[in-house]
Protein backbone atom coordinates (compact mmCIF):
# COMPACT_ATOMS: atom_id res chain seq x y z
CA UNK A 1 0.00 0.00 0.00
CA UNK A 2 2.79 2.33 0.90
CA UNK A 3 4.56 1.51 -2.34
CA UNK A 4 1.34 2.14 -4.18
CA UNK A 5 0.84 5.60 -2.65
CA UNK A 6 4.46 6.46 -3.16
CA UNK A 7 4.21 5.57 -6.81
CA UNK A 8 0.92 7.40 -7.09
CA UNK A 9 2.66 10.60 -6.02
CA UNK A 10 5.51 9.90 -8.44
CA UNK A 11 2.98 9.30 -11.19
CA UNK A 12 1.19 12.55 -10.49
CA UNK A 13 4.47 14.48 -10.49
CA UNK A 14 5.51 12.91 -13.77
CA UNK A 15 2.03 13.42 -15.17
CA UNK A 16 2.08 17.12 -14.45
CA UNK A 17 5.35 17.42 -16.37
CA UNK A 18 3.93 15.42 -19.27
CA UNK A 19 0.79 17.51 -19.15
CA UNK A 20 2.71 20.78 -19.36
CA UNK A 21 4.84 19.60 -22.24
CA UNK A 22 1.86 18.11 -24.05
CA UNK A 23 -0.12 21.34 -23.60
CA UNK A 24 2.42 23.27 -25.64
CA UNK A 25 2.47 20.67 -28.36
CA UNK A 26 -1.28 20.45 -28.60
CA UNK A 27 -1.65 24.24 -28.71
CA UNK A 28 0.67 24.45 -31.69
CA UNK A 29 -1.16 21.66 -33.39
CA UNK A 30 -4.60 23.03 -32.64
CA UNK A 31 -3.82 26.53 -33.81
CA UNK A 32 -1.32 25.94 -36.61
CA UNK A 33 -1.92 22.31 -37.60
CA UNK A 34 1.78 21.69 -37.17
CA UNK A 35 2.85 18.46 -35.47
CA UNK A 36 6.02 19.93 -34.05
CA UNK A 37 8.47 17.06 -33.90
CA UNK A 38 11.04 19.45 -32.44
CA UNK A 39 9.05 19.98 -29.26
CA UNK A 40 11.23 17.61 -27.27
CA UNK A 41 14.29 19.56 -28.39
CA UNK A 42 12.78 22.82 -27.14
CA UNK A 43 12.15 21.06 -23.85
CA UNK A 44 15.80 20.05 -23.70
CA UNK A 45 17.06 23.56 -24.49
CA UNK A 46 14.76 24.89 -21.77
CA UNK A 47 16.40 22.62 -19.23
CA UNK A 48 19.87 23.79 -20.25
CA UNK A 49 18.96 27.46 -20.01
CA UNK A 50 17.67 26.97 -16.48
CA UNK A 51 20.72 24.90 -15.61
CA UNK A 52 23.18 27.59 -16.70
CA UNK A 53 21.18 30.40 -15.18
CA UNK A 54 21.30 28.47 -11.95
CA UNK A 55 24.85 27.17 -12.01
CA UNK A 56 26.81 29.79 -13.93
CA UNK A 57 24.95 32.92 -12.94
CA UNK A 58 23.58 31.94 -9.57
CA UNK A 59 20.06 33.02 -10.37
CA UNK A 60 17.57 31.54 -7.90
CA UNK A 61 15.76 28.40 -9.13
CA UNK A 62 12.31 29.84 -9.63
CA UNK A 63 13.64 32.97 -11.31
CA UNK A 64 15.84 30.80 -13.50
CA UNK A 65 12.79 28.88 -14.66
CA UNK A 66 11.07 32.16 -15.48
CA UNK A 67 14.10 33.33 -17.42
CA UNK A 68 14.24 30.05 -19.29
CA UNK A 69 10.57 30.37 -20.21
CA UNK A 70 11.20 33.82 -21.64
CA UNK A 71 14.29 32.72 -23.57
CA UNK A 72 12.47 29.73 -25.00
CA UNK A 73 9.48 31.86 -25.93
CA UNK A 74 11.86 33.95 -28.03
CA UNK A 75 13.39 30.80 -29.53
CA UNK A 76 9.90 29.48 -30.31
CA UNK A 77 8.85 32.71 -31.99
CA UNK A 78 12.06 32.77 -34.01
CA UNK A 79 11.46 29.24 -35.22
CA UNK A 80 7.91 30.09 -36.15
CA UNK A 81 9.06 33.09 -38.19
CA UNK A 82 12.04 31.48 -39.88
CA UNK A 83 10.82 27.95 -40.42
CA UNK A 84 7.10 27.40 -40.20
CA UNK A 85 5.78 30.72 -41.41
CA UNK A 86 7.34 30.31 -44.88
CA UNK A 87 5.80 26.84 -45.05
CA UNK A 88 2.27 27.80 -44.04
CA UNK A 89 0.80 26.80 -47.41
CA UNK A 90 2.99 23.76 -47.98
CA UNK A 91 1.79 20.16 -47.68
CA UNK A 92 1.77 18.73 -44.18
CA UNK A 93 4.72 16.44 -44.91
CA UNK A 94 6.87 19.55 -45.35
CA UNK A 95 6.02 20.79 -41.84
CA UNK A 96 7.05 17.49 -40.39
CA UNK A 97 10.30 17.45 -42.32
CA UNK A 98 11.12 21.03 -41.34
CA UNK A 99 10.45 20.12 -37.72
CA UNK A 100 12.93 17.27 -38.08
CA UNK A 101 15.46 19.83 -39.31
CA UNK A 102 14.90 21.96 -36.23
CA UNK A 103 15.27 18.87 -34.09
CA UNK A 104 18.60 17.98 -35.76
CA UNK A 105 19.83 21.49 -35.26
CA UNK A 106 18.87 21.97 -31.63
CA UNK A 107 19.97 18.55 -30.47
CA UNK A 108 23.33 18.55 -32.18
CA UNK A 109 23.79 22.23 -31.30
CA UNK A 110 23.36 21.35 -27.64
CA UNK A 111 25.86 18.55 -28.03
CA UNK A 112 28.45 20.87 -29.57
CA UNK A 113 27.92 23.72 -27.15
CA UNK A 114 27.43 21.85 -23.93
CA UNK A 115 28.82 18.37 -24.50
CA UNK A 116 26.98 15.13 -24.21
CA UNK A 117 27.61 14.51 -20.54
CA UNK A 118 24.81 14.16 -18.07
CA UNK A 119 24.42 17.09 -15.71
CA UNK A 120 22.76 17.19 -12.36
CA UNK A 121 20.66 20.29 -11.81
CA UNK A 122 20.85 21.47 -8.20
CA UNK A 123 17.56 22.52 -6.76
CA UNK A 124 16.98 24.37 -3.49
CA UNK A 125 14.16 21.96 -2.75
CA UNK A 126 16.05 19.03 -1.32
CA UNK A 127 14.95 16.52 1.23
CA UNK A 128 11.60 15.00 1.90
CA UNK A 129 8.50 15.85 3.80
CA UNK A 130 6.38 13.39 5.64
CA UNK A 131 2.76 13.35 4.68
CA UNK A 132 0.47 10.70 6.16
CA UNK A 133 3.42 8.48 6.89
CA UNK A 134 4.87 8.81 3.40
CA UNK A 135 8.22 10.33 2.61
CA UNK A 136 7.72 12.56 -0.36
CA UNK A 137 10.54 14.35 -2.13
CA UNK A 138 10.13 18.07 -1.82
CA UNK A 139 11.03 18.59 -5.47
CA UNK A 140 8.15 16.33 -6.51
CA UNK A 141 5.72 18.50 -4.58
CA UNK A 142 7.20 21.57 -6.21
CA UNK A 143 6.73 19.93 -9.62
CA UNK A 144 3.10 19.16 -8.90
CA UNK A 145 2.13 22.52 -7.48
CA UNK A 146 4.12 24.60 -9.95
CA UNK A 147 2.64 22.67 -12.86
CA UNK A 148 -0.86 23.12 -11.59
CA UNK A 149 -0.20 26.82 -11.11
CA UNK A 150 1.10 27.17 -14.66
CA UNK A 151 -1.81 25.22 -16.09
CA UNK A 152 -4.24 27.42 -14.17
CA UNK A 153 -2.47 30.54 -15.40
CA UNK A 154 -2.66 29.27 -18.98
CA UNK A 155 -6.33 28.52 -18.55
CA UNK A 156 -7.02 32.02 -17.26
CA UNK A 157 -4.96 33.49 -20.07
CA UNK A 158 -6.89 31.59 -22.72
CA UNK A 159 -10.30 32.29 -21.22
CA UNK A 160 -10.01 35.74 -19.70
CA UNK A 161 -7.60 37.80 -21.76
CA UNK A 162 -8.10 39.10 -25.26
CA UNK A 163 -4.89 37.64 -26.76
CA UNK A 164 -5.71 34.30 -25.15
CA UNK A 165 -9.20 34.36 -26.57
CA UNK A 166 -7.88 34.96 -30.06
CA UNK A 167 -5.83 31.76 -29.72
CA UNK A 168 -8.89 29.81 -28.67
CA UNK A 169 -10.95 31.37 -31.43
CA UNK A 170 -8.52 30.25 -34.11
CA UNK A 171 -8.21 26.85 -32.58
CA UNK A 172 -11.94 26.34 -32.70
CA UNK A 173 -12.78 27.89 -36.02
CA UNK A 174 -10.09 29.10 -38.38
CA UNK A 175 -12.22 30.63 -41.08
CA UNK A 176 -14.57 32.21 -38.58
CA UNK A 177 -11.66 33.73 -36.72
CA UNK A 178 -10.14 35.20 -39.86
CA UNK A 179 -13.55 36.64 -40.74
CA UNK A 180 -13.70 38.63 -37.54
CA UNK A 181 -10.29 40.03 -38.33
CA UNK A 182 -7.98 38.17 -35.99
CA UNK A 183 -4.37 38.61 -36.99
CA UNK A 184 -3.29 35.04 -37.66
CA UNK A 185 0.37 36.02 -37.79
CA UNK A 186 0.41 37.37 -34.28
CA UNK A 187 -1.50 34.41 -32.98
CA UNK A 188 0.96 32.01 -34.62
CA UNK A 189 3.92 33.69 -32.99
CA UNK A 190 2.19 33.88 -29.64
CA UNK A 191 1.24 30.21 -29.78
CA UNK A 192 4.74 29.11 -30.62
CA UNK A 193 6.15 31.31 -27.88
CA UNK A 194 3.79 29.93 -25.26
CA UNK A 195 4.36 26.39 -26.42
CA UNK A 196 8.13 26.65 -26.11
CA UNK A 197 7.86 28.41 -22.76
CA UNK A 198 5.66 25.62 -21.41
CA UNK A 199 8.18 23.04 -22.59
CA UNK A 200 10.95 24.98 -20.81
CA UNK A 201 9.00 25.10 -17.56
CA UNK A 202 8.20 21.39 -17.74
CA UNK A 203 11.82 20.47 -18.38
CA UNK A 204 13.18 22.77 -15.70
CA UNK A 205 10.80 21.39 -13.11
CA UNK A 206 11.67 17.77 -13.74
CA UNK A 207 15.39 18.27 -14.38
CA UNK A 208 16.50 18.15 -10.72
CA UNK A 209 14.87 14.70 -10.45
CA UNK A 210 16.17 13.40 -13.76
CA UNK A 211 19.28 14.69 -15.50
CA UNK A 212 20.10 17.25 -18.15
CA UNK A 213 21.59 15.96 -21.42
CA UNK A 214 21.23 16.72 -25.16
CA UNK A 215 18.97 13.79 -26.00
CA UNK A 216 16.76 14.14 -22.93
CA UNK A 217 13.92 15.32 -25.16
CA UNK A 218 13.80 12.29 -27.42
CA UNK A 219 11.86 9.91 -25.25
CA UNK A 220 9.64 12.72 -24.08
CA UNK A 221 8.97 13.79 -27.65
CA UNK A 222 7.40 10.47 -28.51
CA UNK A 223 5.49 10.40 -25.27
CA UNK A 224 3.93 13.82 -25.65
CA UNK A 225 2.84 12.85 -29.14
CA UNK A 226 1.25 9.74 -27.71
CA UNK A 227 -0.48 11.92 -25.14
CA UNK A 228 -1.93 14.46 -27.50
CA UNK A 229 -3.08 11.80 -29.94
CA UNK A 230 -4.83 10.00 -27.15
CA UNK A 231 -6.26 13.23 -25.85
CA UNK A 232 -7.24 14.39 -29.32
CA UNK A 233 -4.87 16.61 -31.30
CA UNK A 234 -5.52 20.20 -30.32
CA UNK A 235 -7.50 19.40 -27.18
CA UNK A 236 -6.25 21.15 -24.04
CA UNK A 237 -8.12 19.08 -21.45
CA UNK A 238 -7.14 16.02 -23.47
CA UNK A 239 -3.45 16.89 -23.15
CA UNK A 240 -3.67 17.29 -19.38
CA UNK A 241 -5.74 14.19 -18.75
CA UNK A 242 -3.65 12.22 -21.25
CA UNK A 243 -0.45 13.37 -19.50
CA UNK A 244 -1.60 12.09 -16.14
CA UNK A 245 -2.95 8.85 -17.56
CA UNK A 246 0.23 8.03 -19.43
CA UNK A 247 2.43 8.88 -16.45
CA UNK A 248 0.38 6.74 -14.09
CA UNK A 249 0.31 3.86 -16.57
CA UNK A 250 4.08 4.11 -16.94
CA UNK A 251 4.84 4.33 -13.26
CA UNK A 252 2.58 1.50 -12.26
CA UNK A 253 3.52 -0.88 -15.03
CA UNK A 254 7.20 -0.20 -14.30
CA UNK A 255 6.60 -0.96 -10.64
CA UNK A 256 4.40 -3.98 -10.97
CA UNK A 257 5.30 -5.49 -14.36
CA UNK A 258 8.68 -4.48 -15.73
CA UNK A 259 10.68 -1.42 -16.49
CA UNK A 260 10.80 -2.13 -20.21
CA UNK A 261 7.07 -2.56 -20.31
CA UNK A 262 6.64 0.72 -18.48
CA UNK A 263 8.68 2.48 -21.12
CA UNK A 264 6.80 0.87 -23.98
CA UNK A 265 3.27 1.09 -22.64
CA UNK A 266 2.63 4.59 -23.92
CA UNK A 267 3.46 3.61 -27.48
CA UNK A 268 1.64 0.33 -27.36
CA UNK A 269 -1.39 2.17 -26.09
CA UNK A 270 -0.95 4.82 -28.79
CA UNK A 271 -0.81 2.22 -31.54
CA UNK A 272 -3.81 0.33 -30.23
CA UNK A 273 -5.90 3.47 -29.92
CA UNK A 274 -5.01 4.74 -33.38
CA UNK A 275 -5.61 1.33 -34.90
CA UNK A 276 -9.12 1.37 -33.48
CA UNK A 277 -9.86 5.08 -33.74
CA UNK A 278 -7.68 6.60 -36.48
CA UNK A 279 -8.32 10.17 -35.34
CA UNK A 280 -7.63 9.76 -31.63
CA UNK A 281 -9.65 8.95 -28.57
CA UNK A 282 -11.55 12.17 -28.00
CA UNK A 283 -11.67 13.61 -31.48
CA UNK A 284 -14.93 15.08 -32.66
CA UNK A 285 -15.05 12.87 -35.74
CA UNK A 286 -13.56 13.92 -39.02
Amino acid sequence: MELFLQQLINGIALGSVYGLAALGLTLVFGVLRIPNLAHGALYMVGAYVTYFALVSYGIPYIAAIGLSAVVLAVVGITIERLVFHPLRNAPHTHHLIAAVGVLFFLESGAQVLWGSEFRQMPSPFVGTVEVLGLNIGLQRLVVIFASIAVMAALYLFLKKTVPGQTIEAIEQDRTGASLVGIDANRVSMMTFGISAALAAVAASLVAPINLVFPTMGEALNLKVFAIIILGGLGSIPGAIVGGFLLALAEVFSSTYISNAFGQAIGFVFLLVVLAVRPTGLFSKGV
Binding site: T93, V100, G101, T279
Partner: protein
Protein backbone atom coordinates in the same frame (compact mmCIF):
# COMPACT_ATOMS: atom_id res chain seq x y z
CA UNK B 1 13.84 17.90 -78.40
CA UNK B 2 12.25 15.41 -76.05
CA UNK B 3 13.79 12.48 -77.96
CA UNK B 4 17.20 14.01 -77.82
CA UNK B 5 17.05 14.59 -74.11
CA UNK B 6 15.94 10.99 -73.64
CA UNK B 7 19.00 9.85 -75.54
CA UNK B 8 21.20 12.05 -73.43
CA UNK B 9 19.66 10.62 -70.34
CA UNK B 10 20.40 7.09 -71.51
CA UNK B 11 23.95 8.05 -72.29
CA UNK B 12 24.43 9.65 -68.90
CA UNK B 13 23.01 6.55 -67.28
CA UNK B 14 25.43 4.32 -69.19
CA UNK B 15 28.38 6.48 -68.15
CA UNK B 16 27.34 6.44 -64.50
CA UNK B 17 26.94 2.68 -64.60
CA UNK B 18 30.32 2.25 -66.27
CA UNK B 19 32.01 4.40 -63.65
CA UNK B 20 30.27 2.43 -60.92
CA UNK B 21 31.54 -0.83 -62.45
CA UNK B 22 35.09 0.45 -62.70
CA UNK B 23 35.33 1.96 -59.26
CA UNK B 24 36.85 -1.09 -57.51
CA UNK B 25 39.58 -1.26 -60.16
CA UNK B 26 40.72 2.27 -59.45
CA UNK B 27 40.18 2.52 -55.77
CA UNK B 28 42.68 0.64 -53.66
CA UNK B 29 41.57 2.31 -50.53
CA UNK B 30 39.36 -0.26 -48.81
CA UNK B 31 37.93 2.37 -46.57
CA UNK B 32 36.76 4.50 -49.45
CA UNK B 33 35.26 1.49 -51.19
CA UNK B 34 33.40 0.62 -48.01
CA UNK B 35 32.06 4.12 -47.88
CA UNK B 36 30.68 3.88 -51.39
CA UNK B 37 29.05 0.57 -50.58
CA UNK B 38 27.41 2.13 -47.57
CA UNK B 39 26.12 4.97 -49.73
CA UNK B 40 24.59 2.40 -52.09
CA UNK B 41 22.88 0.65 -49.21
CA UNK B 42 21.41 3.89 -47.92
CA UNK B 43 20.38 4.75 -51.44
CA UNK B 44 18.40 1.49 -51.66
CA UNK B 45 16.71 2.35 -48.36
CA UNK B 46 15.95 5.83 -49.68
CA UNK B 47 14.35 4.34 -52.80
CA UNK B 48 12.04 2.45 -50.49
CA UNK B 49 11.10 5.63 -48.68
CA UNK B 50 10.65 7.38 -52.01
CA UNK B 51 7.95 4.94 -53.14
CA UNK B 52 5.83 5.92 -50.18
CA UNK B 53 6.81 9.53 -49.47
CA UNK B 54 7.95 10.73 -52.87
CA UNK B 55 5.34 9.11 -55.06
CA UNK B 56 2.41 8.44 -52.77
CA UNK B 57 2.87 11.43 -50.46
CA UNK B 58 2.72 9.54 -47.17
CA UNK B 59 5.42 10.32 -44.61
CA UNK B 60 6.40 7.16 -42.76
CA UNK B 61 8.69 7.47 -39.77
CA UNK B 62 9.01 3.71 -39.29
CA UNK B 63 11.42 3.20 -42.16
CA UNK B 64 14.44 2.48 -39.96
CA UNK B 65 12.32 -0.07 -38.13
CA UNK B 66 11.74 -2.07 -41.32
CA UNK B 67 15.36 -1.59 -42.30
CA UNK B 68 16.21 -3.05 -38.90
CA UNK B 69 13.84 -5.97 -39.33
CA UNK B 70 15.64 -6.83 -42.56
CA UNK B 71 19.05 -6.43 -40.93
CA UNK B 72 18.18 -8.44 -37.85
CA UNK B 73 16.49 -11.19 -39.87
CA UNK B 74 19.73 -11.76 -41.72
CA UNK B 75 21.78 -11.28 -38.55
CA UNK B 76 19.78 -13.64 -36.35
CA UNK B 77 19.36 -16.35 -38.98
CA UNK B 78 23.00 -16.43 -39.97
CA UNK B 79 24.60 -15.87 -36.56
CA UNK B 80 22.23 -17.68 -34.20
CA UNK B 81 20.94 -20.39 -36.48
CA UNK B 82 23.75 -20.85 -38.96
CA UNK B 83 21.45 -20.21 -41.91
CA UNK B 84 23.13 -19.48 -45.25
CA UNK B 85 23.03 -15.83 -46.31
CA UNK B 86 20.90 -16.07 -49.43
CA UNK B 87 17.76 -17.60 -47.97
CA UNK B 88 18.20 -15.25 -45.00
CA UNK B 89 18.19 -12.26 -47.30
CA UNK B 90 15.09 -13.55 -49.02
CA UNK B 91 13.41 -14.04 -45.67
CA UNK B 92 14.48 -10.55 -44.62
CA UNK B 93 12.57 -9.07 -47.56
CA UNK B 94 9.60 -11.36 -47.05
CA UNK B 95 9.45 -10.74 -43.33
CA UNK B 96 9.79 -6.96 -43.61
CA UNK B 97 7.11 -6.75 -46.29
CA UNK B 98 4.67 -9.11 -44.57
CA UNK B 99 5.04 -7.14 -41.35
CA UNK B 100 4.74 -3.95 -43.39
CA UNK B 101 1.57 -5.24 -44.96
CA UNK B 102 0.05 -6.15 -41.61
CA UNK B 103 1.04 -2.90 -39.92
CA UNK B 104 -0.09 -1.01 -42.99
CA UNK B 105 -3.62 -2.31 -42.51
CA UNK B 106 -3.81 -0.32 -39.29
CA UNK B 107 -1.38 2.48 -40.05
CA UNK B 108 -3.18 3.47 -43.23
CA UNK B 109 -6.47 3.87 -41.47
CA UNK B 110 -4.87 7.04 -40.16
CA UNK B 111 -4.17 10.01 -42.38
CA UNK B 112 -1.63 12.78 -42.81
CA UNK B 113 0.02 13.75 -39.54
CA UNK B 114 -1.69 10.91 -37.72
CA UNK B 115 -0.05 8.51 -40.14
CA UNK B 116 3.35 10.08 -39.51
CA UNK B 117 2.89 9.88 -35.75
CA UNK B 118 1.50 6.35 -35.89
CA UNK B 119 4.49 5.17 -37.86
CA UNK B 120 6.79 7.05 -35.48
CA UNK B 121 5.28 4.92 -32.72
CA UNK B 122 5.69 1.76 -34.83
CA UNK B 123 9.33 2.59 -35.48
CA UNK B 124 10.00 3.19 -31.83
CA UNK B 125 8.28 -0.01 -30.74
CA UNK B 126 10.32 -2.03 -33.27
CA UNK B 127 13.43 -0.42 -31.82
CA UNK B 128 12.38 -1.21 -28.26
CA UNK B 129 11.64 -4.83 -29.12
CA UNK B 130 15.03 -5.26 -30.75
CA UNK B 131 16.83 -3.50 -27.94
CA UNK B 132 15.09 -5.35 -25.12
CA UNK B 133 14.69 -8.86 -26.51
CA UNK B 134 18.22 -9.72 -25.53
CA UNK B 135 18.07 -13.50 -25.80
CA UNK B 136 17.04 -13.20 -29.42
CA UNK B 137 18.66 -10.03 -30.76
CA UNK B 138 21.63 -9.67 -28.47
CA UNK B 139 20.07 -6.53 -26.97
CA UNK B 140 22.31 -3.52 -26.68
CA UNK B 141 25.41 -5.68 -27.11
CA UNK B 142 24.22 -6.52 -30.56
CA UNK B 143 25.00 -9.38 -32.90
CA UNK B 144 28.55 -10.03 -33.95
CA UNK B 145 29.88 -11.96 -36.91
CA UNK B 146 27.29 -11.68 -39.65
CA UNK B 147 29.03 -13.55 -42.48
CA UNK B 148 29.68 -12.56 -46.06
CA UNK B 149 27.38 -14.17 -48.61
CA UNK B 150 28.24 -17.69 -49.78
CA UNK B 151 29.50 -18.06 -53.30
CA UNK B 152 27.03 -18.18 -56.15
CA UNK B 153 28.34 -20.67 -58.69
CA UNK B 154 31.64 -19.29 -59.94
CA UNK B 155 31.29 -16.02 -58.00
CA UNK B 156 32.88 -16.00 -54.57
CA UNK B 157 32.39 -13.24 -52.04
CA UNK B 158 35.75 -13.14 -50.38
CA UNK B 159 36.55 -9.50 -50.18
CA UNK B 160 34.99 -6.09 -50.35
CA UNK B 161 35.37 -5.90 -54.16
CA UNK B 162 33.02 -8.82 -54.70
CA UNK B 163 30.62 -7.52 -52.11
CA UNK B 164 30.74 -4.17 -53.86
CA UNK B 165 29.43 -5.73 -57.06
CA UNK B 166 26.75 -7.57 -55.17
CA UNK B 167 25.46 -4.40 -53.56
CA UNK B 168 25.74 -2.52 -56.83
CA UNK B 169 23.67 -5.23 -58.50
CA UNK B 170 20.94 -4.86 -55.90
CA UNK B 171 21.05 -1.09 -56.26
CA UNK B 172 20.62 -1.36 -60.02
CA UNK B 173 17.79 -3.83 -59.50
CA UNK B 174 16.12 -1.44 -57.05
CA UNK B 175 16.43 1.47 -59.44
CA UNK B 176 15.06 -0.67 -62.26
CA UNK B 177 12.06 -1.65 -60.16
CA UNK B 178 11.52 1.94 -59.03
CA UNK B 179 11.67 3.17 -62.61
CA UNK B 180 9.31 0.46 -63.81
CA UNK B 181 6.81 1.38 -61.13
CA UNK B 182 7.17 5.11 -61.72
CA UNK B 183 6.40 4.74 -65.41
CA UNK B 184 3.54 2.32 -64.96
CA UNK B 185 -0.13 2.88 -64.31
CA UNK B 186 0.46 1.72 -60.75
CA UNK B 187 2.96 4.54 -60.36
CA UNK B 188 0.46 6.98 -61.82
CA UNK B 189 -2.05 5.84 -59.22
CA UNK B 190 0.53 6.51 -56.48
CA UNK B 191 1.18 10.00 -57.81
CA UNK B 192 -2.52 10.70 -58.15
CA UNK B 193 -2.96 9.95 -54.46
CA UNK B 194 -0.09 12.25 -53.54
CA UNK B 195 -1.57 15.05 -55.61
CA UNK B 196 -5.10 14.73 -54.32
CA UNK B 197 -6.68 11.73 -52.63
CA UNK B 198 -10.14 13.00 -53.49
CA UNK B 199 -9.37 13.39 -57.14
CA UNK B 200 -7.72 9.96 -57.18
CA UNK B 201 -10.87 8.49 -55.72
CA UNK B 202 -12.97 10.32 -58.28
CA UNK B 203 -10.78 8.77 -60.96
CA UNK B 204 -11.74 5.35 -59.65
CA UNK B 205 -8.55 4.55 -57.75
CA UNK B 206 -8.90 2.44 -54.64
CA UNK B 207 -6.93 4.80 -52.44
CA UNK B 208 -6.71 2.52 -49.41
CA UNK B 209 -5.48 -0.49 -51.34
CA UNK B 210 -3.06 1.54 -53.42
CA UNK B 211 -1.48 3.13 -50.34
CA UNK B 212 -1.26 -0.32 -48.81
CA UNK B 213 0.61 -1.52 -51.88
CA UNK B 214 3.03 1.42 -51.74
CA UNK B 215 3.64 0.83 -48.05
CA UNK B 216 4.35 -2.86 -48.61
CA UNK B 217 6.77 -2.16 -51.45
CA UNK B 218 8.53 0.47 -49.39
CA UNK B 219 8.95 -1.91 -46.44
CA UNK B 220 10.18 -4.70 -48.71
CA UNK B 221 12.89 -2.43 -50.09
CA UNK B 222 13.75 -1.30 -46.56
CA UNK B 223 14.11 -4.96 -45.59
CA UNK B 224 16.40 -5.60 -48.55
CA UNK B 225 18.66 -2.70 -47.69
CA UNK B 226 18.75 -3.81 -44.07
CA UNK B 227 19.73 -7.35 -45.05
CA UNK B 228 22.56 -6.06 -47.22
CA UNK B 229 23.66 -3.75 -44.45
CA UNK B 230 23.95 -6.70 -42.05
CA UNK B 231 26.36 -8.62 -44.27
CA UNK B 232 28.27 -5.49 -45.21
CA UNK B 233 28.87 -4.27 -41.69
CA UNK B 234 29.20 -7.66 -39.99
CA UNK B 235 27.72 -6.61 -36.64
CA UNK B 236 24.41 -5.13 -35.63
CA UNK B 237 23.43 -2.89 -32.74
CA UNK B 238 19.97 -1.58 -31.93
CA UNK B 239 20.93 2.07 -32.54
CA UNK B 240 20.73 1.58 -36.30
CA UNK B 241 17.02 0.70 -35.95
CA UNK B 242 16.16 3.78 -33.93
CA UNK B 243 14.18 6.74 -35.19
CA UNK B 244 17.22 8.97 -36.00
CA UNK B 245 18.13 6.50 -38.76
CA UNK B 246 14.76 7.20 -40.35
CA UNK B 247 15.58 10.89 -40.20
CA UNK B 248 18.89 10.27 -41.92
CA UNK B 249 17.29 8.33 -44.76
CA UNK B 250 14.77 11.14 -45.01
CA UNK B 251 17.65 13.58 -45.29
CA UNK B 252 19.16 11.62 -48.22
CA UNK B 253 15.86 11.60 -50.02
CA UNK B 254 15.24 15.26 -49.36
CA UNK B 255 18.64 16.38 -50.59
CA UNK B 256 18.39 14.24 -53.71
CA UNK B 257 14.77 15.00 -54.42
CA UNK B 258 11.52 13.40 -53.32
CA UNK B 259 9.53 11.77 -56.08
CA UNK B 260 12.39 11.68 -58.52
CA UNK B 261 14.15 8.64 -59.89
CA UNK B 262 17.69 9.85 -59.41
CA UNK B 263 17.08 11.65 -56.10
CA UNK B 264 17.67 8.82 -53.62
CA UNK B 265 20.98 7.86 -55.25
CA UNK B 266 22.25 11.42 -55.56
CA UNK B 267 21.17 12.27 -52.03
CA UNK B 268 22.61 9.19 -50.37
CA UNK B 269 25.87 9.53 -52.25
CA UNK B 270 26.30 13.21 -51.66
CA UNK B 271 25.30 13.25 -48.02
CA UNK B 272 27.41 10.24 -47.02
CA UNK B 273 30.43 11.71 -48.77
CA UNK B 274 29.95 15.11 -47.19
CA UNK B 275 29.36 13.52 -43.79
CA UNK B 276 32.58 11.63 -44.26
CA UNK B 277 34.50 14.66 -45.41
CA UNK B 278 33.44 16.55 -42.32
CA UNK B 279 34.19 13.59 -40.11
CA UNK B 280 36.59 15.49 -37.94
CA UNK B 281 33.69 17.84 -37.32
CA UNK B 282 31.46 14.88 -36.57
CA UNK B 283 29.56 16.85 -33.97
CA UNK B 284 28.87 19.72 -36.34
CA UNK B 285 27.33 17.52 -39.03
CA UNK B 286 23.79 17.82 -37.85
CA UNK B 287 24.22 21.42 -36.74
CA UNK B 288 24.78 22.15 -40.40
CA UNK B 289 22.36 19.61 -41.81
CA UNK B 290 19.45 20.76 -39.67
CA UNK B 291 19.32 24.17 -41.35
CA UNK B 292 20.07 22.53 -44.72
CA UNK B 293 16.96 20.38 -44.35
CA UNK B 294 14.92 23.44 -43.47
CA UNK B 295 16.25 25.53 -46.35
CA UNK B 296 15.69 22.68 -48.78
CA UNK B 297 12.12 22.06 -47.73
CA UNK B 298 11.30 25.77 -47.88
CA UNK B 299 13.07 26.68 -51.10
CA UNK B 300 13.74 23.43 -52.96
CA UNK B 301 11.26 20.85 -51.75
CA UNK B 302 12.07 18.72 -54.80
CA UNK B 303 15.73 18.57 -53.91
CA UNK B 304 18.65 18.55 -56.32
CA UNK B 305 16.80 16.44 -58.89
CA UNK B 306 13.99 18.99 -58.88
CA UNK B 307 16.46 21.81 -59.23
CA UNK B 308 18.12 20.08 -62.16
CA UNK B 309 14.73 19.48 -63.78
CA UNK B 310 13.90 23.14 -63.48
CA UNK B 311 17.18 24.21 -65.02
CA UNK B 312 16.72 21.74 -67.82
CA UNK B 313 13.20 22.97 -68.45
CA UNK B 314 14.44 26.55 -68.52
CA UNK B 315 17.10 25.72 -71.08
CA UNK B 316 14.65 23.77 -73.19
CA UNK B 317 12.10 26.50 -72.96
CA UNK B 318 14.15 29.53 -73.87
CA UNK B 319 13.78 29.36 -77.67
CA UNK B 320 10.08 28.56 -77.53
CA UNK B 321 9.52 31.03 -74.82
CA UNK B 322 10.20 33.95 -77.06
CA UNK B 323 7.57 32.72 -79.44
CA UNK B 324 4.99 31.80 -76.86
CA UNK B 325 5.49 34.48 -74.33
CA UNK B 326 3.89 33.38 -71.11
CA UNK B 327 3.17 29.75 -70.33
CA UNK B 328 5.47 27.36 -68.62
CA UNK B 329 6.04 23.97 -70.14
CA UNK B 330 4.97 20.98 -68.16
CA UNK B 331 7.36 19.49 -65.71
CA UNK B 332 7.17 15.80 -66.14
CA UNK B 333 5.86 14.12 -63.07
CA UNK B 334 8.36 11.35 -63.19
CA UNK B 335 11.93 11.74 -64.04
Amino acid sequence: MQVLSRHWRKLALAVVLLVALLIPLFIDNQYLLGLIMLAYIWAIAAYGLNVLLGYTGQLTLAHAGFFGIGAYTVGILTVNYGFPFWPSLLLAVVFASVLGFLIGIFALRTQNEYFAIFTLGVGFVIFLVIERWESFTGGSLGLIGVPYPEGLGPIQFEGPEQLYYLILAFLVLTIYVAASIAHSLVGRSFIAIRNSPDLAMAAGINVGRTKQLAFTISTAIAGLSGGLYATYIGFLGPAIVNVPTTFEILLYLLVGGMGSLSGPLIGAFLVTTIFEYFQQFEAYRLVIFGPVVILLIIFFPRGLAGLWGELEARVRRSPEKEAEGREEPSREEVR
